[in-house]
Subunit: 323 residues, 5 copies
Amino acid sequence: MIVDCALYRDGSRVQGDTDYRALRARARGADDFVWIGLHEPTEDEIADVAEVFGLHPLAVEDAVRAHQRPKLERYGDMVFVVLKTLWYVDERDAVETGEIAMFAGHDFVVSVRHGQGNELHSARRALESSHQVLGHGPGGVLYAVIDRVVDEYLDVVDELVVDVDEIETSVFSTDRTNDSARIYVLKRELAEVRRAVLPLREPVARLARGDVATVPEKARPFFRDVADHLARAAETVDSLDALLSTAFDAHLAQISVQQNDDMRKISAGAALVVVPTLIAGIYGMNFTHMPELGWTYGYPFALVLMGLVAAGLWALFKKSGWL
Amino acid sequence: MIVDCALYRDGSRVQGDTDYRALRARARGADDFVWIGLHEPTEDEIADVAEVFGLHPLAVEDAVRAHQRPKLERYGDMVFVVLKTLWYVDERDAVETGEIAMFAGHDFVVSVRHGQGNELHSARRALESSHQVLGHGPGGVLYAVIDRVVDEYLDVVDELVVDVDEIETSVFSTDRTNDSARIYVLKRELAEVRRAVLPLREPVARLARGDVATVPEKARPFFRDVADHLARAAETVDSLDALLSTAFDAHLAQISVQQNDDMRKISAGAALVVVPTLIAGIYGMNFTHMPELGWTYGYPFALVLMGLVAAGLWALFKKSGWL
Amino acid sequence: MIVDCALYRDGSRVQGDTDYRALRARARGADDFVWIGLHEPTEDEIADVAEVFGLHPLAVEDAVRAHQRPKLERYGDMVFVVLKTLWYVDERDAVETGEIAMFAGHDFVVSVRHGQGNELHSARRALESSHQVLGHGPGGVLYAVIDRVVDEYLDVVDELVVDVDEIETSVFSTDRTNDSARIYVLKRELAEVRRAVLPLREPVARLARGDVATVPEKARPFFRDVADHLARAAETVDSLDALLSTAFDAHLAQISVQQNDDMRKISAGAALVVVPTLIAGIYGMNFTHMPELGWTYGYPFALVLMGLVAAGLWALFKKSGWL
Amino acid sequence: MIVDCALYRDGSRVQGDTDYRALRARARGADDFVWIGLHEPTEDEIADVAEVFGLHPLAVEDAVRAHQRPKLERYGDMVFVVLKTLWYVDERDAVETGEIAMFAGHDFVVSVRHGQGNELHSARRALESSHQVLGHGPGGVLYAVIDRVVDEYLDVVDELVVDVDEIETSVFSTDRTNDSARIYVLKRELAEVRRAVLPLREPVARLARGDVATVPEKARPFFRDVADHLARAAETVDSLDALLSTAFDAHLAQISVQQNDDMRKISAGAALVVVPTLIAGIYGMNFTHMPELGWTYGYPFALVLMGLVAAGLWALFKKSGWL
Amino acid sequence: MIVDCALYRDGSRVQGDTDYRALRARARGADDFVWIGLHEPTEDEIADVAEVFGLHPLAVEDAVRAHQRPKLERYGDMVFVVLKTLWYVDERDAVETGEIAMFAGHDFVVSVRHGQGNELHSARRALESSHQVLGHGPGGVLYAVIDRVVDEYLDVVDELVVDVDEIETSVFSTDRTNDSARIYVLKRELAEVRRAVLPLREPVARLARGDVATVPEKARPFFRDVADHLARAAETVDSLDALLSTAFDAHLAQISVQQNDDMRKISAGAALVVVPTLIAGIYGMNFTHMPELGWTYGYPFALVLMGLVAAGLWALFKKSGWL
């Protein structure tokens, strides 16, 4: 589906029109360019766009099929970029992923989006209001989209930081919680984020270094900024992952400590019952000569004896921390 | 065994003939080449082929002996590639491996296959129907075979993703499962895949970079695509491996939690029996003066007392989550 | 807020004045420079400073927003440095973080500080008393601030060394301590320190290598010294982290050993009660012919028998180390 | 001790003679060379050889003292190589190590061997029958020896693969085995192999790259082949080590699972005894009015009741998988 | 404190004198040099030496303050080296550390030592008796001292190998040992050694590569030898560390296995008591009609029954390995 298509000149949107053939024909100025945005295009749609803008078949194939790795490839003077998009679904505490592929030549940008999240419409609107960035041409569009995507990485990472904090609280609470499943899920989501972030670092570094002709000299600091954000996301993810591993070990330690505490309490509780049982057994013996048995207060004496022994054990265990 | 042998010219199959001597003699055009496919050849077969095409003895030795490492080596203007092939056997949830060795000169390709899976016949048919790729000559054949093999890596990896998902479900189910053996087997298979994928990355990178004369300039993007698939396979394997390690730890944690739960239930159950036993012991004492013993309803009273105590403990344990 | 602002010439403070426009106008000598220090400036304050000194908008944005990664970036002949500051809060055994951003051109330094700790006032005073370092111009200011910040890293690391020593003592004491939460917190703080230290290494290395024009040749050994301190901080943090991991494992082992000891003690204690109970049960049997029952000293005999059996078991368990 | 000493010319052994002075004097042709093989030489023997062939004192010292690291060093146009030799002692399932040091100049090879295994005699015989390799001169001798040593690495690794398979079977058997000691020993042996293999990779890579003048251009593919075998050994060792770690964790998990199973069985067994004991206690109470006590079949009734309760519990536990 | 000071010429000690000013004035020959050895000098002492030999203030500061990182720095044509010294204190099975700093110019060496161990006196004596090494001038002194220090690293590592062997024996003995504290301490000491060894590798590599003018061409093989010893020390430490981690895991496994064994023994022991108690309970019941109670040998029968049951259980448990 063609979401939007427009001609840009001197840092401004000149004309929006889904007839990209006509728009491209009009893009005759040195800095003119067309930006066509597609969302999950059909084979036919992309084939036609590919023909008009001369896109390389391998890149087109990658753009249509989802589940690609983030990457940047040059085909002649055209650059092809694949990004993973991430967003956090609050209801399910889950990270979801989508994909954006972009083709940028000297006079056009084709963006292809897969998945629900991270629509590019607002990115385009924001870009259209910034003459400085839009003035960088297709390189500016690349920057605007990548910057938007990477900012969302940072949002997702911030949510995960909150999740890790919650797990941490849960692990070290005195409640008997079973946090292993939640830690596992979170580790899995960190792996998801890592799969989006890590392979993107090299493409962004190349854009910042100026390996790519489409990106003008003065646009490079912008990509350095993006590279920096990516590095921050990657470092935070690594550090969260390490923390989760430690939290997991701590969880195991807590279980062990609780197990030990439980065992001591159980055995102390058993002692409170077993020793009086021995006393009862003694006074249940059938010896002919057992003076206590004839005492008027023999029975209350035995009960009090049991009570005292139990109380004494209780005090002993309390003092030694077993109860 | 010679599986197939043909002369290719201008991106088309010209003539199939097992007499490779004759075919090679006819391959006089600049872009002509012969592709001979062998399956577990005898010493004599390979020796004759080696003589006709001038293959280096060390490479021939490697091609005949299975269990080589994936690699690419240049002998003069000839290139020698070894690949591990992988396929997933559904019945046994197992990954099996085979091997393909290829010699590519400017006018010939010799492919040698070991093991049952990954026959090359369909790869050859697919290639013969693609003039574009076949037009790249021996480099195109290299691409077609490596691409086919790497696509099968991705298939195997997808199956392993499913296996990991199953283990995950099993680990976090409330059933008392013993998943350690299955996790171990899966880790072993991931190691197998890694042994196929990782060493292949450098050869493919060299083919994509144009280190190898046999691969024409315009064929390089195809190898970059393969390199990308390899990277994806490697990343997925690494991430599955890390997930399995976490799943394993979670499995250990689950066992500990269950052990603790069991212990608490056991001790609670014991308490339900031991306290009434004490009461019975008390009324089994032989004191002369025990008023209850003479009561008409002394016996039912004792039974009810036992029942009440047991019920009280039951309620207490239920409330505190011990039962 | 403008904290301090002054003109420096020939290694000495010439004039302090918050009117930085006027000061910059006066800085006409080859080695003259202005140093303006800001603390959490408002958008307007930084915007005005940025205009006067011609700071790049991306760098200004980074300087205003906290939570940046340590980094060094060059914009033309200007260099922009971001540092994390660390300090140790004794009361809470916690590491806190702040941030300093610095812009250094050939004739000015703008420093922007976030957070409570690590004020730069004393660094400025120390610098003003050192003609040698101040004579290096803006590069000298960079050095003085970074050196100060890195020295505080080393102080924080020293405090953490003490904390790790305490945990170590606690883990291997015979007390039943639950050290996992504390180890976790410490690991988290080490991660905080690492996030400040590691990304700073590359910027300092670049300053030491002379990549940055603002740093004169003869100032480089000073940055090599800082790089060395950073390396020491990083190595100590890594080594503490590894020690904590080992301490954690040792903590787990201690819990296991204690659990085993407790279990043996419990079972030994139980034996001391259960065996006499069996004896009491035997003499509670109702056989017509039980000679002991008729003995005059049958009852004391039974009690002594119970006592001897218990004492015998006690001695046995003591000897075998079970009690 | 001088094991063998001979003059080689044009790929053939010309003359064997322990008088290496004389032999060297005769080695006047461009491709002539002397190969002298020593086994644990005395100080005097090696000193004399060193003088005749002009060996560097540091290298000589390394050759005499065992326990060196595998390495390659150039002294002028002479190359000095140290190798660790490995062999597997079946009786003790152990890996043993020795050492070979080699000096190679343009017209001589001095090999010095330590330890019992890996004699070089058969390597020399094999080499003498291969004119192609021997024709490469001292470089060919280097190749023949290193190839022989590395092939033995692969043999040792194959034995270790078998050992790991055995441990794997043992860990996942239902027998109660204590595999930790065996896993430890195997990890130790893998470390031994790694210490031989890893440092050798760089020297062999240098020989394959042609850094060393003694190795002629056409001999390099042979060293690339050795490098490949080394890589295979290293990868297998790494992968075995990772598998052993997983097997170890699985072993721990098995112990935990068994512990849990045992605990459940024990508690179930206890319940089968404790509940009848409670019944016996009840009928041992001394109430005046206990109708059952007067029943003619009261005693059998009580016994049957106990039996039924025990059987009921047994069935319950069987059904719930506790027994 | 000035420990020794002398002038060296042509590989020989010419004159010892603590008046280093005078000595330096006499060192006019091309290869003359002065070596002054200091031990924990006062500020004044080092300041005077620094003035005489023109030492850089930053280096002097590092030399006076202990706890520096091993490093090599060049100031003009002077080189400054910091080394950590290690020695093993047998009584306490502990590794202690000291420090040596050295300044080497073309005509002088200043060595500054901190800590008790590793005196340099014997190194100087050994050096003075070796004309070859002393003939390399200040570079020779550097070599002699570094070689001495690194040889002591190897001694320390050898002691640690012994310690690891002892722990290994202890872990796998059948004794109930608590080895975690000892493993922890040893890991800590390995970290100490690593902190001395690892950062020294790069300086020694630079000396071996000839980056440093003070080291003449023909002295480089000596530093390559030192680099080799360092690599050996580093590899051994890494391998010991990995072994200790495995030993630790094995220790945990042993505790678990013992815990399981203990639990089985305890429960078996309990069964031997609990089942006879049930029998006693049965014969303590008060039924009117219990034939056994009237038997003449009823009592011995009951005792024998108890004994038989206990013996039967014992045999059963023995057979199934529970006792």
